[in-house]
């Protein structure tokens, strides 16, 4: 294992945790009845986000990651999902690993253990970004309004993830199911994107899920 200090960054006591959309009080909005909801938004809050960097051509590295996570390291624009854990390509030597809440510390430790002394980096970015999940028949129309990237299924099949321009800002769009998409949003943009999504999905009916 490499000589790096790894900290448990999430408080283990019952400290109150506020997600980037805490102030929007989505839990209260979730109860509201909407006529017909074309878009359902849910913040997948407080997940563990780890940025993993290493040499993609090094089979020792890729094999170690795959054996720990049980997920294949995706190639360009790829996304592999197993339950609540997902691994996404960000760059030629960079991946985003998202694990359920409270699992990022053990995931980082076991990854470092398995990868050994190779020249790699694992950074915990859980506090820096959040995940929005959009579901419904109107989602693709909302995305078409917001980004210049072609979101038609022929160009953007399930299992693809791209970083692109979105609403004058930048984020990562992930296609996880037929009518389900995820947005990886940076914390400081969370409120702006939330306001944008409310406006853009108003005409299709926006419901909030908690």
């Amino acid at each position: 294992m490499s000589n790096v200090n790894v900290y448990q960054q999430r408080p283990t006591s019952a400290a109150r945790a506020e997600s980037p959309l805490f102030h929007a009080e989505l839990d209260k909005l979730a109860g509201r009845s909407v006529g017909s909801a074309g878009v359902t938004l849910r913040e997948k809050k407080l997940r563990g986000h780890l940025v993993l960097r290493g040499e993609a051509s090094d089979t020792g590295f890729t094999g170690a990651v795959e054996s720990v996570l049980g997920l294949k390291l995706p190639v360009a624009l790829g996304l592999t999902v197993k339950g609540e854990t997902s691994l996404q390509w960000l760059g030629p030597d960079e991946w985003l690993l998202i694990v359920p809440q409270d699992e990022e510390y053990t995931a980082e430790l076991s990854l470092r253990e398995a990868i050994g002394d190779r020249h790699i980096s694992i950074v915990n970015v859980s506090g820096g970004q959040t995940l929005y999940e959009l579901t419904g028949p109107g989602v693709r129309s909302v995305l078409m309004k917001s980004t210049s990237y072609d979101v038609h299924p022929s160009n953007f099949p399930v299992g693809k993830a791209v970083g692109t321009v979105f609403a004058k800002s930048q984020l990562v769009i992930r296609h996880t199911g037929e009518e389900t998409w995820e947005l990886v949003v940076r914390r400081s943009f969370a409120d702006y994107i939330w306001l944008w999504l409310q406006d853009a999905s108003a005409e299709y009916g926006l419901a909030i899920a908690s």
Partner: protein, 107 residues
Amino acid sequence: MLHIQCPHCGELRSEEEFHAAGQAHIPRPLDPDNCTDAEWGDYMFFRDNPRGIHHELWVHATGCRRYFNVTRNTETYEILETYKIGEQPQVNGKPVVVAKAIEGETV
């Protein structure tokens, strides 16, 4: 609006995802402590401004966030190729004059 091929993402992306970052293939002096001021000045400040074929550094700012090289015709804005850092360009030299209309002559 141009569509630019990102050699890392492997697909054409909209121009607004990219930023140009100046001239490519500028080697840093191997021994900065002992090079002359003129050599260092050339390296730091002086850039080519050709009319025609130019090799440039671009970054896929909103996508994979990686730098790569672009061969671009500065007259027509046509992008002739994109290639990864460390690779050599396939297109060099003076551009082919696409159309040069001279009065009274058909091209």
